[in-house]
């Protein structure tokens, strides 16, 4: 739930020094609040993660441009609802192999922390209906399939021995469509078929 406000510089002011000031509003509260670290800044983004950390509230943000002689109107966002709109990161994925199976262990992503020393909050605690879309690719047969799981361990059985399989996993929450980042692709090979080794002797 890292929430960053971004904007484009005003057109037609090339060469003119422009600074920006940001405010935010908690829906249902009384007034606009200043973001002190985003007052008279030159960059075109402002991290409002700390101010929007309560994901069950909804928020607005606005920014105005200031040049020596001029000050723009406020440019305001729509209503932002972190609980429904945050992008869910990928789970941690651990693979262990056997001859004809691969065991996939998933750990839910963690909520963004304001301070690194803060205790971790799993996204599973926030989204009890968090699910995972596991995609598996057989590099020998070029066959790909996906499975939707809710629990944290999945065993892929009846695989081909001595074959390289690649896996990537995406978290998702049933509800309005939202962006989700898949995990890094990980590849492991199933072990050699022990029975064929005996035949050879």
């Amino acid at each position: 739930m890292k929430n960053v406000l971004q904007w484009n510089p005003p057109e037609g002011l090339q060469g003119v020094e422009v600074t920006y000031t940001v405010q935010y509003f908690i829906y249902g509260q009384k007034k606009w609040l200043n973001k002190s670290k985003c007052r008279n800044i030159h960059r075109t983004y402002c991290d409002l993660s700390a101010e929007t950390a309560d994901y069950e509230h909804q928020y607005y943000a606005r920014v105005k441009a200031i040049s020596e002689t001029n000050c723009s109107k406020w440019a305001e966002t729509g209503r932002f609802y972190p609980f429904l709109e945050t992008q869910i990161g990928p789970p941690e994925v651990a693979l262990t192999t056997d001859e004809k199976s691969i065991s996939i262990d998933l750990t839910a992503p963690e909520k963004w922390k304001i301070n690194p020393e803060d205790s971790s909050v799993s996204m599973q605690q926030i989204y009890s209906n968090l699910k995972y879309n596991v995609s598996v690719y057989n590099t020998k047969s070029n066959r790909m399939w996906s499975q939707c799981v809710t629990n944290h361990t999945l065993v892929l059985s009846w695989l081909e021995p001595n074959t390289l399989y690649c896996v990537h996993v995406q978290s998702f929450v049933p509800g309005p469509p939202r962006l989700a980042q898949p995990s890094e692709k990980q590849c492991v090979s199933t072990l050699e078929d022990q029975t064929s080794v005996f035949k050879v002797k």
Binding site: Y27, R79, Y81, G175, P176, P177
Partner: protein
């Protein structure tokens, strides 16, 4: 005794709402007032009160909000009608539960429902209806979240 669950796929409703959300919320000029989002309303509801609260908020939308709202844009109106029909279906589903005495209303749910109606009455009726429509995502998210956690007694 199995508790009632709203066994409807809210995704279709959410998709309909997502398409009109910006248009509806842009018409809501009273950012300092909320209808559903106050913490004493939906967020304070316990699992045992989920069925009653769902029934009450569905009735709030069907009997007040959809009736009070006047929508000029035909595309938006179609989406609102689709959502309203889905709510009528959900009401029927809960009606059966209620007849089997499995949708009991305790004081907490009644109080929370009153807060919602009081919030609505604070505003002029058209503004209140637009605001309530703009907060449909809060109600749908609450249904999603609570119908996952509603345990089987």
């Amino acid at each position: 005794l199995r508790r009632c669950q709203v066994s409807v796929d809210t995704r279709h409703i959410e998709e309909s709402f997502q398409e009109i959300k910006r248009a509806i919320q842009a018409k809501d000029i009273f950012q300092n007032v909320t209808i559903l989002s106050t913490s004493e309303a939906l967020q304070s509801i316990k699992p045992s009160d989920v069925c009653c609260m769902t029934k009450n908020v569905l009735a709030f939308y069907v009997d007040r909000v959809f009736k009070d709202h006047q929508e000029p844009n035909p595309r938006v109106l179609r989406k609102i009608s689709s959502i309203a029909n889905s709510f009528l279906y959900m009401q029927k589903a809960l009606q059966r539960c209620q007849e089997q005495k499995r949708c009991h209303c305790r004081q907490e749910a009644t109080n929370a429902t009153k807060i919602i109606h009081d919030n609505y009455d604070q505003l002029e009726v058209r503004s209140a209806a637009v605001k309530s429509l703009g907060e449909l995502d809060v109600f749908l998210a609450w249904i999603d979240k609570n119908n996952q956690e509603t345990s089987t007694a």
